[in-house]
Symmetry: C2
Amino acid sequence: MRRQRLSDQPEAWVSYLDRIAEANNWKQDGYRPLLVDGHELGQTSDAFAASLEKYPDVFVIEPNAVRLADGLSSYDERTEAIAACLNDIRQTRGIHGWRNENYPVGRTFERPVFEIERAAVPLLGTRGYGVHMNGYVRKDGGFFMWIARRSLQKATAPGKLDQMVGGGQPAGLSVRDNLIKECGEEAAIPRDLAEMARPVSAITYRCVRPEGFRWDLLWCYDLELPASFVPVAADGEVDEFMLMNINDVAAGIRETTDYKFNCALVILDFLIRHGFVEADDPDYEHLVTGLHPRF
Amino acid sequence: MRRQRLSDQPEAWVSYLDRIAEANNWKQDGYRPLLVDGHELGQTSDAFAASLEKYPDVFVIEPNAVRLADGLSSYDERTEAIAACLNDIRQTRGIHGWRNENYPVGRTFERPVFEIERAAVPLLGTRGYGVHMNGYVRKDGGFFMWIARRSLQKATAPGKLDQMVGGGQPAGLSVRDNLIKECGEEAAIPRDLAEMARPVSAITYRCVRPEGFRWDLLWCYDLELPASFVPVAADGEVDEFMLMNINDVAAGIRETTDYKFNCALVILDFLIRHGFVEADDPDYEHLVTGLHPRF
């Protein structure tokens, strides 16, 4: 498929590899690492870095980096100082999608070193976390996957195709508990059925999207559902659920950009794990290593 | 588990992460990239690089690299020139385990740019390829895996635990056909059963072993077997097959070095894909990214 690329326009990308490329389209040029105690905890665009120059007690702007000021050494000190800057920026130039919801910031989810408003995550380029679940059905000798069409009202990727269940990972809740909560809210999957979901993988990527820099980890779950189960769009985030033949899903991932960029990778990982990509595929190594880059 | 490390001695490593660390223990110090047309196609120890200085028409030894001489531009020219050097080295200082079997050399398995004797692969540090299959059984509400104990006569890892089936990947045979052949040779699995094996993953690693530098890709297959099937050690490479409870297999991977270093990673990948590692495990991201590094 790789050799069928028609042009450099994303809409013409027609290979599994193109989905990985789209989700890893970030280049250092135009961005500076956000350094905290010498560790890269984010990536900030040159433009946003310029707007941080007003706060030299909090952010030290260098030609090739943005450093958090040395004096800010505790979790609470950092959180409060950065919140004051972000609130000021919000009032002067605005920050899109402000939610009054704090997200933890760190190299890994378990070891945060401060918190920031969720809407600032793509601006400071800190890590994001989510949990996605593939719901599938085996019946009549075939293999099917439940696919959600995102509401046209969603702020990101309206109308795109998505996993049956997916959502951001807040602090203070286990990944498993968050998944079970999302199962109920998004697809009306009862708890006893949701508890049968199995953790099976995680994908990672770095890319530039309209909202800014994305540096995400998504935990992936699989849930085999009885053929009799029909999900119900419960919270308005999904317009419809469709039970699709896995070969049609695979073709959609390979040949279209109908799927939300990161949901496409969660499905590609599923296709590999369930034997729907041949080991003899010349792209196999790049697919497997491309789904799980270490940054 | 990470915090239970008892010492720096490998035998005391007691975490899944330690299996990944062992299979990725290589450092650039003491090694030089083998460059062909500017591409890194291997890693050669300083000691072996010194023994290549006798052949300046073939190998150009630089302080930080070994370059294949520019005049060698075709597949056959490279293959013949390198074979002459290796044969000379074999006669003067010996090369362990010479097999008169050529392996393809390239950045990927599908695009080789020359061939070398198999025994020279860890000396020039070129890529190696293999196929491994997890054979598992669901019965009595439990989950079991067939584990092989390697023959004490094997040149590498005698007596260590291994997948049910595994082997090197020669050129000129598809990965799938090679797997089916190995299924018959190593475990007497009939073709119609072996054909039900599914490609599910690949693992990659770089390490230094007694035989030299290893830079491998292993394609991983799963085969669910009927409870009535019993493998038979057919070709003398396996001393015995054991049907082990998956929890005992997991404990063995986590807490011992009983398993051959790369087979441990193939099983760890299986444990993750089948839901035997919780997404909430704080090591989860490092396990998933550590099994599939891109080099």
